[in-house]
Symmetry: C2
Subunit: 186 residues, 2 copies
């Protein structure tokens, strides 16, 4: 798995237009009209940017070989022409989560909460890329980016709703849910 750094820049410009920003828990993020995604080290934020969230793709921390094979068999990549809807969901987990041992986190995430199995149910419709931010000293631990077609928006609501009802989500102390549509560049 490559380690690629992505910058999600909220502001007045960008390839994705914000439809709605909802604070699910913890502190909100300032409202913005658009989000631009820039790959790689980039200290020069675009003009009129309001915030920048950074995350890096990395190896999987929880999936087993059997789960990984199931995911690979059905998942599709980002940038599908029909997937004109997107969501950016930054999350921060509590200190209690990070103090758990690996087997305890796995037990909560999958044995109890079925996080991986739930995500699998919505493939290939909902494509996803997870970015790790915690090691970068960012205010969130993870940034998940999702892409789907307009007709799958209901399925996406169901997916995030199901996850928010799990035991794992007791450890989520901050979550912002940003829905977007692909836009013409300004």
């Amino acid at each position: 798995m490559d380690n690629r750094l992505y910058n999600f820049i909220g502001g007045a410009a960008g390839a994705w237009r914000v439809l709605k920003m909802a604070t699910v828990s913890g502190a909100p993020l300032p409202e913005v009209a658009r989000i631009e995604i820039i790959e790689g080290e980039n200290d020069s934020a675009p003009e009129n940017s309001v915030w920048r969230l950074r995350g890096v793709t990395s190896y999987e921390r929880y999936v087993t070989r059997a789960e990984k094979d199931s995911l690979i068999a059905v998942q599709e990549g980002l940038n599908r022409p029909a997937a004109t809807c997107a969501a950016l969901i930054p999350i921060r987990k509590s200190a209690a989560w990070w103090e758990l041992a690996q087997d305890e986190r796995r037990a909560i995430l999958e044995t109890n909460s079925k996080h991986i199995a739930i995500g699998l149910k919505y493939l290939p419709a909902i494509a996803r890329r997870l970015h790790h931010s915690r090691e970068l000293g960012e205010e969130f631990d993870f940034l998940t980016w999702f892409e789907y077609a307009p007709e799958d928006a209901g399925a996406f609501d169901e997916l995030v709703g199901t996850l928010r009802g799990t035991k794992e989500w007791n450890y989520v102390e901050r979550e912002v849910d940003i829905r977007l549509v692909r836009a013409e560049r300004l």
Copy 2:
């Protein structure tokens, strides 16, 4: 577990004097006389510095609750007055390692290679702090810092020798072994 960023700066100055730098595998690091450790974001490297390696402490990726409790029960912290010897061992693992699923990495690291159990055997003599560098886009994946008393130098050689003979080490593609002693500041 806190996420603390540490800078290991090799050059002419620093609190630790280099006794020996050995390249175990892959490309060497330029020889330096001393290493300084600076905590936190720090873009102003000291004068005459030759290289800087950065890593962040993070949550444990493999230990179970039982293993974590065993480690906590016997381990001691850094900066013990008697621990005047240290080692900095930067490591990079292969793409094949990072492509493995979590259960496969755990099986190699502990079920087969006994990495955690081997480290436990040398506690509390050998104190250790692991830093993650991969997510920072660094040239190494991990920096491990060890501290021990001079009379435990033989035990430390035994520890690293044992680990280098394990299956896990088949996935180590670059490793530099730097031995140091605490020095008066220049």
